[in-house]
């Protein structure tokens, strides 16, 4: 429905990420590179998944269990890739620390490491929003709009933008939690992230039922809020611990 609506939907999904990018990430070039590479990684994982599932598509939209299978397989693959990402990051951290020693500058601070994790998560989130929401927005710039059965009160574009916003939040802050969990060896954090991702994915299955998005979307936002709170608590704890030991 016109260019204004199209831009509105895009900003709805990506607004917070844009402000995060401009205020935090764009100041440090290395973080921009991190965002780009994690976006690429997410895209590659999505292509691999679509390659695997292509033979089975199109799935009938009346039956929900193939979708459940799809979600479970996709989430497990992506969580596996997160561990891979962590390993690559560890290697990179060692290289950077060695370089810092060589030019006699201080090593990476805790905040630097968290910023890198945040940038990685933001890359994942932006990739999700771009491929699941923005790339379908092209018709929204035209004169009409589109509704789906499961959410017939609001346009499809608006629904997908809202869902994308929730997922962006989940992806962005999960990465911070996950990296911290792997660094500290904290089991709770390590399991928190995949479980939240899986539950969030499965909750979107509720959108299958007619009018199901009234249940699905608030639950999704509950997961996003949970992620935010847990991340905030963890970061606060780490920073105060760090500040008190220095």
């Amino acid at each position: 429905m016109t260019v204004a609506a199209g831009i509105g939907y895009a900003l709805l999904a990506l607004g917070p990420s844009l402000s995060l990018f401009i205020s935090v990430i764009s100041k440090k070039p290395f973080l921009i590179l991190t965002v780009l590479s994690s976006t690429l990684l997410w895209l590659v994982s999505l292509i691999v998944l679509s390659g695997v599932w292509r033979a089975f598509l199109p799935l009938k939209s009346t039956v929900w269990w193939p979708y459940a299978l799809l979600i479970v397989s996709s989430v497990s693959f992506q969580e596996g890739l997160r561990i891979l990402f962590w390993k690559v990051y560890k290697r990179l951290e060692d290289i950077l620390d060695a370089f810092a020693d060589r030019v006699s500058k201080p090593r990476l601070f805790l905040t630097d490491k968290m910023l890198i994790a945040l940038a990685g998560g933001l890359g994942h989130g932006v990739a999700h929003a771009v491929f699941f929401c923005l790339s379908l927005l092209t018709p929204a710039f035209g004169p009409a709009t589109f509704f789906v059965d499961s959410c017939s009160q609001i346009p499809f574009f608006l629904v997908s933008a809202i869902i994308a916003l929730a997922f962006v939040t989940i992806h962005t802050f999960s990465m911070v939690i996950a990296f911290n969990g792997y660094a500290e060896g904290n089991r709770i954090d390590q399991f928190f992230v995949p479980i939240v991702h899986l539950v969030a994915g499965l909750v979107t299955l509720a959108n299958f039922a007619y009018g199901g998005c009234i249940v699905g979307i608030p639950l999704l936002y509950l997961m996003a809020l949970l992620t935010l709170l847990h991340c905030g608590k963890m970061v606060w704890r780490r920073l105060t611990e760090n500040g008190s030991t220095q």
């Binding site: 921009i32 799809l70 370089f99 030019v103 923005l134 790339s135 299958f208």
Partner: protein, 426 residues
């Protein structure tokens, strides 16, 4: 109010040079995508094919069969690459015979044609589509001034860097947009052919670009070419400033007794004769090379590109290290030249053509191809840091871009649309 001053982490300036080259490439691609989406949705004039050197062999129509199109596209791209090779050899010959003045004039002339005529046509399309009320005298005066300033900006380096960079990006956008008007199969075949040609021309010992580079090295001269130079990174953390940023002029380091290893260049000579719309591609510039080594006087400045580790490259030169560092110190006082990455305009153009062509299908392919091209550029920069010599910038990016385009179009789109329409996301 007491502020706790956090010591500056070196993460603050890591990788800045790479970002300074990725930003203009992204801007160029973005503008081409916008132009393509605005100007192509309205015109359904697929029947009027542009007469080009690129479609000389075969004019594609939508009703041809698969094999006809494939053969035609391959033929077109072969013809184009052949012409480009011949023109580049002519360029090498002229450079060898020291006709540099002629080359510079020719470059200026072709930039004027690109900015004036191609820019004018695109401006006319936009005026027609948006019904901008402007009369032709104003338009002509503005266009002429725009083109004239552009020629001056590109060839006299005394202008503000930003103006030069902006004009180079504009030239890239204009040429790329014209290439996207070619028929589809021809465009893809052309991209792949140019990537292969680039690989051959830069790496093979008999390749014209390599000959050009070696000639330029042996004479320690600049090739007159259209090259985008990223602004060199100034280190704001070093102590020797009074708030005045040091002026950086970049020029090649005169290396006493050493082979300087910088070479840039890419020349992109573009001559477009508007009467029959031929585009003569003499372009390549697909060589990425670093212009200068870091100056050892400011050790901090090297922090700004640890990903392209210059200090190790200075040591690679072996003997003459002490000599070169002294000569740098003597030359460098007050001027501080740090290395700047140079990327040829032809690379900008072909990246944008790829993304523009992807935009004609759907935006999902645009995002995928953008990420692929940036990844390819990053890989090429890494290879550059590793191999320390002129490298072709097209092959990796174009290969990844084409691969991602077809993967997205065939696999990803069905998957994502299926999931999204049922509001099932992960």
């Amino acid at each position: 109010m007491a502020q706790i001053q956090r010591p500056k982490s070196f993460l603050d300036s890591l990788g800045e040079e790479i970002i300074r080259i990725i930003t203009p490439v992204s801007i160029c691609m973005f503008i081409v995508v916008i132009l393509v989406s605005i100007l192509n949705t309205d015109s359904s004039s697929a029947s009027t094919t542009i007469n080009n050197i690129a479609t000389m062999a075969y004019a594609e129509t939508t009703s041809d069969s698969f094999w006809d199109k494939l053969k035609g596209a391959l033929l077109n791209s072969l013809v184009f690459v052949a012409i480009v090779t011949v023109v580049t050899f002519v360029l090498v010959l002229l450079f060898y015979l020291r006709c540099t003045q002629f080359l510079k004039l020719y470059m200026g002339f072709s930039s004027f044609i690109v900015l004036g005529f191609m820019g004018g046509e695109i401006a006319l399309f936009l005026i027609r589509d948006f019904s901008v009320p402007i009369d032709c005298f104003t338009f002509l005066v503005v266009l002429f001034n725009f083109a004239a300033v552009g020629v001056l900006a590109v060839f006299m380096s005394k202008m503000a860097i930003f103006v030069t960079q902006a004009y180079l990006v504009v030239i890239g956008v204009l040429v790329a947009y014209w290439f996207t008007l070619l028929p589809e199969w021809t465009t893809w075949a052309l991209l792949v052919a140019m990537a292969l040609y680039d690989l051959a021309a830069v790496l093979l010992p008999v390749g014209p670009l390599r000959l050009l580079v070696e000639l330029a090295i042996s004479r320690d001269e600049d090739i007159p070419a259209l090259v985008y130079e990223a602004r060199p990174v100034t280190n704001h953390h070093s102590g020797s400033r009074d708030g005045v940023a040091q002026r950086r002029l970049w020029r090649e380091r005169r290396n006493v007794g050493n082979d300087s290893e910088e070479n840039l260049n890419s020349e992109s000579s573009l001559d477009s004769n508007l009467t029959n719309g031929t585009v003569d591609g003499g372009h390549h510039t697909t060589r990425l090379a670093r212009a200068e080594e870091g100056q050892l006087l400011e050790r901090d400045a090297e922090l700004s590109a640890p990903l392209i580790d210059r200090r190790s490259s200075v040591q690679v030169h072996g003997q003459g290290d002490a000599v070169s560092s002294e000569s740098l110190l003597l030359e460098g006082i007050g001027l501080g030249s740090t290395g700047a990455i140079k990327l040829g305009l032809g690379d900008f153009i072909f990246y944008s053509v790829l993304v523009g062509r992807a935009a004609m299908y759907d935006f999902m392919t645009v995002y995928a191809c953008y990420l692929a091209i940036i990844a390819g550029l990053g890989i090429t920069l890494m290879l550059l840091a590793f191999y320390q010599k002129a490298l072709p910038a097209l092959p990796v990016s174009v290969a990844l871009g084409v691969l991602f385009y077809f993967l997205t179009r065939l696999l990803l789109e069905a998957f994502v649309v299926q999931c999204s329409l049922n509001l099932v996301m992960f």
